[in-house]
């Protein structure tokens, strides 16, 4: 019987069937579940790496000595991994190497809408793009064959609607793929200038051959229907096109780099009008125009957001407009009841700090009622930005500023800027929100959580010792000891050295301690507790009430009530 799988699960199944031995990834929506599903197969050695660069270096090491290897990441993770990737394109592979990169058009859970197809073009790495879960499985397996046959890493590009959509999948057996022999080959794997120059020639020749062969790949296919309109598309957009323009002829690209020029020219000659329908950048359109073919599409679809069947019907079909959403109060995501970040940010707000923020659930602290984040750029940026701000405005500025990032984000990219701040004689303060887990992506273990991807015990990174070794002054405090935490934060921001304040308290969703919900008596409706922004506290005309179905009894509201009207919850 077929199984219903999200695209990410099907990629994991494809990796399993392809005989992959090593998987090294960093979590990032919408790519995370690939590696989680891979970990269910004991035949594959899976580990959460500290960041995507380390992940790719690990899988590249495995591939160089003969194993098939996989690294998975979100689109912005590809930037972090770009350094090893761009040169791995020169060395090529031994065992197959696939990078599953998940783009996020419309930014459901991301800070930008970059297009991995562009990075593929600048790194000269071919791209396969499935259009449903079955293709996720099939293309993953094919990616390993192409990787080994053409001696190149291969991108498997997903988008959110593919990664997180379920469709039926026929599964197969795991192939018996032995380790390939490893022979020392500095000309291929030591990329110093003299050798890299020779490899660059190889890269160009390989790419030309692949582009030529792509004309015969069955994953690129022409579906002729009415010849009035021909559409070139790939990935999940193909599904939207089929739905919106059922009569249009379609060239479905399964390999979206390099493109099959002869096939496209042949298709263009058979249709009266050729359009490209693609999300994000005009990647196909530019490539096709460079072939000397008249084509359009981006003038209508634009660079932003997702497409849908309705949108395509409106732009390229009958022009009918879909009904619009009614104007209603929004429901933005919020920090969970009992979230330790709420106390941490409350303390920072009390001290009137400028907050250089980072990537995690705590990014939500930019929204009302906390409204405290000054910046969010990329993983680990907070620490370096606080240092840069001090360079620009002097040490006084750092007395009223902090960098804030989670434990996993700190390990990902916060360590090196902390080294830089100490080295530069700065006096910045970094708050590590140490909730013992990678929270926002759905609770993945990390080097500081003491467990591996299977939940088994693992060596635990000692954050205090690490930061002390770097040369920072380290203080550790549970932010729910609000007074003490606020005092420590005040002392360290005002101090003349680089400090790290570790706000240590487990993620509320993982805190298994049973606590009684809080309750309110004789509320004077002063509104002080509403400033913490807890969804369990509701303001009414008669005073604040506590929603007992939401309250987890963390007791933070009790600490901020000036009249002692709140009882119960954690002491």
């Amino acid at each position: 019987m077929k199984k219903l799988m999200i695209g990410n699960e099907a990629v994991a199944r494809g990796a399993y069937e392809a005989g992959v031995r090593v998987v090294s990834s960093y979590p990032g929506t919408p790519s995370t579940e690939i590696t989680e599903f891979c970990a269910k197969y004991p035949e594959m050695n899976c580990q959460w790496a500290p960041n995507e660069k380390v992940a790719v270096e690990t899988s590249f090491g495995a591939c160089m000595v003969g194993a098939r290897a996989l690294s998975c990441m979100k689109h912005v993770g590809v930037n972090v991994a770009a350094d090893p990737l761009f040169t791995a394109a020169y060395t090529g592979v031994n065992g197959g190497l696939v990078i599953a990169a998940a783009d996020d058009p419309f930014m459901h859970s991301s800070q930008n809408e970059q297009d991995t197809r562009m990075i593929a073009r600048s790194s000269h790495i071919p791209v396969l793009e499935p259009a449903d879960s079955q293709e996720c499985l099939d293309f993953t397996k094919l990616a390993y064959d192409i990787s080994e046959q053409y001696d190149t890493p291969v991108f498997l590009r997903l988008t959110t609607r593919l990664a997180h959509s379920r469709s039926p999948v026929e599964v197969g057996e795991r192939a018996d793929v032995p380790l390939k022999d490893y022979e020392k080959n500095p000309g291929k794997y030591v990329m110093m200038p003299g050798m890299a120059r020779k490899r660059h020639v190889v890269v160009e020749a390989r790419e030309k051959k692949l582009a030529k062969d792509a004309n015969g790949f069955s994953i690129n296919r022409v579906e002729m229907r009415d010849n009035k309109l021909g559409v070139v598309c790939g990935g999940v957009v193909y599904q939207y096109v089929r739905e919106a323009l059922p009569d249009a002829s379609v060239l479905k690209l399964g390999m979206t780099y390099p493109l099959p020029e002869e096939m496209i020219k042949g298709f263009a000659a058979k249709v009266e009008k050729l359009v490209v329908i693609e999300e994000l950048e005009p990647v196909f359109e530019r490539d096709i125009r460079n072939m000397g073919i008249e084509v359009s599409g981006k003038d209508k679809t634009g660079l932003q957001g997702e497409l849908s069947a309705a949108k395509i019907r409106q732009l390229f079909g009958d022009g009918a407009e879909a009904p619009a959403e009614a104007a209603l109060p929004g429901r933005p995501p919020v920090l969970c009841p009992g979230c330790p970040h709420r106390a941490t940010f409350f303390a920072m707000k009390k001290l009137g700090l400028t907050v250089f923020g980072d990537i995690g659930c705590y990014t939500l602290c930019a929204l009302p009622p906390i409204n405290l984040m000054d910046s969010t750029l990329c993983m680990g940026a907070s620490v370096g930005m606080a240092h840069g701000a001090e360079k620009a405005r002097g040490k006084e500025f750092s007395k009223k500023a902090v960098a804030v990032l989670g434990d996993s984000t700190f390990i990902h990219s916060g360590i090196t800027p902390l080294v830089d701040a100490v080295y530069g004689g700065a006096s910045t303060t970094t708050v590590i929100l140490d909730n013992r887990i990678t929270g926002m992506t759905g609770h993945q273990q990390n080097a500081a959580s003491g467990k591996n991807i299977l939940g088994d015990p693992a060596p635990q990174l000692n954050l205090e010792a690490l930061c002390e070794a770097i040369g920072a002054t380290v203080r550790v405090c549970d932010p729910h000891n609000l007074k003490e935490f606020t005092q420590i934060l005040k002392e360290e921001t005002e101090a003349d050295h680089v400090s790290v304040v570790i706000a240590r308290r487990p993620c509320a969703l993982l805190d298994k301690r049973k606590k009684e919900p809080a309750h309110i008596e004789n509320c004077r409706n002063c509104g002080a507790c509403m400033k913490i922004g807890c969804p369990a506290l509701i303001k009414t005309d008669k005073g604040v009430v506590i929603d007992h179905t939401l309250c987890v009894g963390c007791g933070l509201c009790k600490q901020v009530c000036p009249f002692g009207a709140i009882q119960g919850g954690e002491e």
Partner: protein, 186 residues
């Protein structure tokens, strides 16, 4: 094969929306249908609005349902029902829990919770929270609503129950089956 049926499931992050779409997907596949389910993970699960799409039928391509194309909207919360109403076809059916979960802008007092009821002609409103509590767990609202939906579909009840059994943890099965049957009867 049935003609295309489009079902939208909406609610507040944490209400078990993903599980509901997973059960429906499993069931459709078990009934020999082609099916696509689209979910949203990540940031939007932190108490925000959540929407999933279930599409059943032989010529389903897109995993998404466009506005005006849904046969059913299954809503776990009243405001989210109002928000998703525009997805319904003219003769589509809205099934909604009457529970109100206040969003942060309402909690903070910067706006008020809308008092209007859905305007869709075919609407089923029910207090699924109470039914779920009576079944033994307030979190089984999603399964109560599935029970209501089952009345509009031609699939045998035992198939629905088998799909629930395949997707929920074993120790919660009895409660969930009670919740489902409460929805069927309601």
């Amino acid at each position: 094969m049935m003609k295309n049926t489009n079902i939208i499931i909406v609610g507040v992050g944490g209400q078990g929306i993903l599980l509901t779409s997973k059960i429906l997907g499993y069931l459709a596949l078990d009934m020999g249908e082609n099916v696509k389910v689209s979910e949203v993970h990540g940031m939007s699960q932190r108490g925000g609005s959540v929407i999933t799409y279930v599409r059943i039928g032989s010529d389903v391509h897109s995993p998404l349902i466009d506005p005006g194309e849904a046969d059913f909207v299954l809503s776990f919360e009243k405001l989210e029902a109002l928000r998703a109403e525009y997805f319904l076809k003219k003769d589509g059916v809205l099934i909604s829990n009457t529970q109100e979960i206040l969003p942060m802008p309402v909690i903070m007092g910067s706006t008020t919770y809308p008092q209007a009821n859905p305007s869709q002609e075919k609407t089923v409103l029910l207090d699924a929270l109470t039914l779920a509590e009576e079944a033994g767990n307030a979190r089984a609202i999603n399964i109560v609503l599935l029970g209501v939906l089952s009345r509009f579909m031609d699939w045998p009840q035992e198939k629905w129950e088998a799909a629930i059994a395949a997707c929920v943890p074993a120790k919660t099965l009895e409660t969930n089956l009670k919740a489902f049957r409460a929805g069927v009867k309601e």
